[in-house]
């Protein structure tokens, strides 16, 4: 289980990006974090990844505190961030340097086939389309079999068709080993398609505003009325989170911890 306990982040320039964010995410859960710009969702993800340290509060994975990148936590960024000097296969195997070459090759080959790019093994990253490159990034993050996979707006740079395809594909890959997925997005559709639970954050400073359980079986029909209902409730919550006059509904705030800003 991944536990976030009152995680706060204040940048050196005094901007408070994240204020006392607490959440518990169980193993295998798919969690979407959604919110307006500047609500600290990327900051939160970077703290969980161990790329940035929280100013206060703790991130613990299976009771192990996370302060730096951890083997059990993988991350996929908005851009594929492939290493341009490595072939597609070597990019996927980048995190497997400690394995014997034969085992590494076998895992890479399996991952390549799994993301449907077996014929691109020896291609350079520059020869891939945006969607293909992001598939390679997903394979690279998944191949060391992390317990937690973080995704920072992973499909936002892709066209609508490719995005849908990759969302379905991600769920398909997730089903193999069922890692915990934490997905930061600003796409309501994406959050409702993928997540078991949607956390809505509100900006300045970033904090938890609302959470919505998506009680829908998978695969989800994007056109069903129930799907539309969940989308509407997330949208409503998102709208309210941006309204300054609405008080926090943050359940984790105990009495006496009300924030004065």
């Amino acid at each position: 289980m991944l536990a976030l306990d009152r995680v706060s982040k204040t940048y050196p320039n005094g901007v408070q990006a994240l204020a006392r964010f607490s959440a518990e995410i169980s193993q295998g859960e798919i969690l979407a974090i959604i919110g307006g710009s500047g609500c600290g969702k990327s900051t939160l993800l970077r703290a969980i990844a161990g790329l940035d340290r929280a100013s206060s509060g703790t991130v613990t994975l299976d009771s192990e505190a996370i302060a730096s990148p951890h083997a059990k936590i993988g991350i996929i960024f908005q851009e594929p961030r492939l290493l341009p000097w490595l072939s597609v296969a070597d990019n996927i195997g980048f995190g497997l340097a400690d394995l014997p070459p034969a085992e590494r090759r076998e895992k890479v080959a399996r991952a390549l086939a799994r993301v449907g790019l077996a014929d691109k093994a020896e291609a350079w990253p520059r020869e891939l389309s945006g969607g293909q490159a992001q598939r390679v990034a997903i394979a690279r993050a998944l191949v060391p079999q992390p317990e937690v996979l973080l995704l920072d707006e992973p499909f936002s740079a892709l066209d609508a068709f490719t995005r849908r395809d990759l969302q379905d594909h991600l769920l398909d890959l997730w089903a193999d080993t069922r890692p915990t997925l934490i997905l930061v997005t600003h796409d309501v559709d994406e959050a409702v398609v993928l997540a078991d639970r949607v956390l809505v954050m509100r900006p300045r400073p970033g904090r938890l505003f609302d959470q919505i359980e998506i009680n829908l079986g998978r695969p989800r029909d994007r056109n069903s009325p129930l799907f539309e209902n969940f989308k509407r409730s997330v949208l409503t919550s998102l709208d309210r989170s941006l309204d300054r006059n609405v008080p926090d509904r943050d359940a984790t705030q105990g009495p006496g911890q009300a924030m004065w800003w």
């Binding site: 990148p69 290493l83 000097w85 769920l171 398909d172």
Partner: protein, 281 residues
């Protein structure tokens, strides 16, 4: 929907590589570059042959090549080329090592950059030829001062190139290394070195160019052998063909050594998505 997702392919496949160039264009294209110099040389040859000019101060190509052949036959040419190559090679090696080490330190470690870089930049502002009298006083008139001068010329572009390249490594790529928990050494080997390599090769080529420039300066100052000596000797004894011969050999050697660097780097830079590459294929 889930099960067939991986079969779905992207809508926008990258364009297939251009068809391999035909045999003719592959050989013909580099030849285009030879057209202008060949035409000029033949034209001048013709002018002198017809007697429109005596070609005393500007000897025609035939006379230049005859001089080169004479020098080669007497064994002089090999001796001069060897001396010059030796100086350039040694000076280049020292300059590259110093430039790479200091450039890497300044690029990687910001405290060192603050301490070191202003001094290096100040030294860089001094025209390198201004060091010549000092180097001669310190290191003598013979080889050491010449090699030091060449090394100084090579040092600055390499230093700047390495430092700049390290500073401009994409933070996002470095972050990928961090998420895979690369240690300091692995980060250098697997992320920084390959990222820096293209700019490093360019700085080596610039450095080598300056090396050739400074070897002439060094040899003009005082040498008993070397291509620069041939230049000076040709001037003092009024042998323009010999000067031209030395210049031609400089051009050939400079181009050849530059091409060697390019050739050595090619296997490591195949991945580059360069403008020039796209045009050539």
């Amino acid at each position: 929907m889930i099960s067939d997702a991986p079969v779905l392919q992207q809508s926008s496949e990258p364009a297939e590589r251009a068809a391999a160039p035909t045999r003719l264009s592959r050989y013909a294209r580099p030849m285009l570059g030879l057209l202008l110099p060949l035409a000029l040389a033949l034209g001048w040859e013709l002018v002198v042959w017809r007697g429109w000019s005596n070609g005393r101060l500007v000897p025609p190509p035939s006379r230049v090549f005859a001089t080169i052949a004479d020098l080669a036959r007497s064994g002089e040419l090999v001796r001069h080329i060897a001396a010059t190559l030796w100086r350039v090679g040694l000076g280049f090696a020292f300059g590259v090592v110093a430039g790479t080490v200091l450039g890497a330190i300044s690029g990687y470690w910001s405290l060192a950059r603050r301490l070191l870089d202003p001094t290096v930049q100040a030294l860089r502002a001094i025209p390198s030829l201004a060091w010549v009298p000092l180097f001669i006083l310190w290191l003598g008139i013979f080889e050491t001062s010449k090699i030091a001068l060449i090394a100084a010329g090579v040092f600055f572009p390499v230093y700047l190139g390495v430092m700049g390249a390290i500073l401009s490594v994409d933070r996002k790529i470095v972050e990928v290394g961090r998420t895979f928990r690369l240690s300091g050494f692995a980060m250098i080997r697997r992320i920084l070195l390959p990222a820096v390599l293209p700019a490093y090769v360019v700085s080596l080529r610039v450095g080598l160019g300056l090396g050739w420039m400074f070897v002439v300066a060094a040899e003009l100052i005082g040498a008993s052998e070397g291509l620069g000596y041939l230049l000076l000797d040709g001037q003092q004894l009024g042998k323009p063909a010999q000067i031209m011969a030395a210049i031609v050999i400089f051009a050939i050697l400079g181009k050849l050594t530059d091409w060697l660097i390019e050739l050595a780097a090619m296997p490591f830079l195949r991945w580059q998505d360069a403008f020039g590459r796209a045009k050539e294929t």
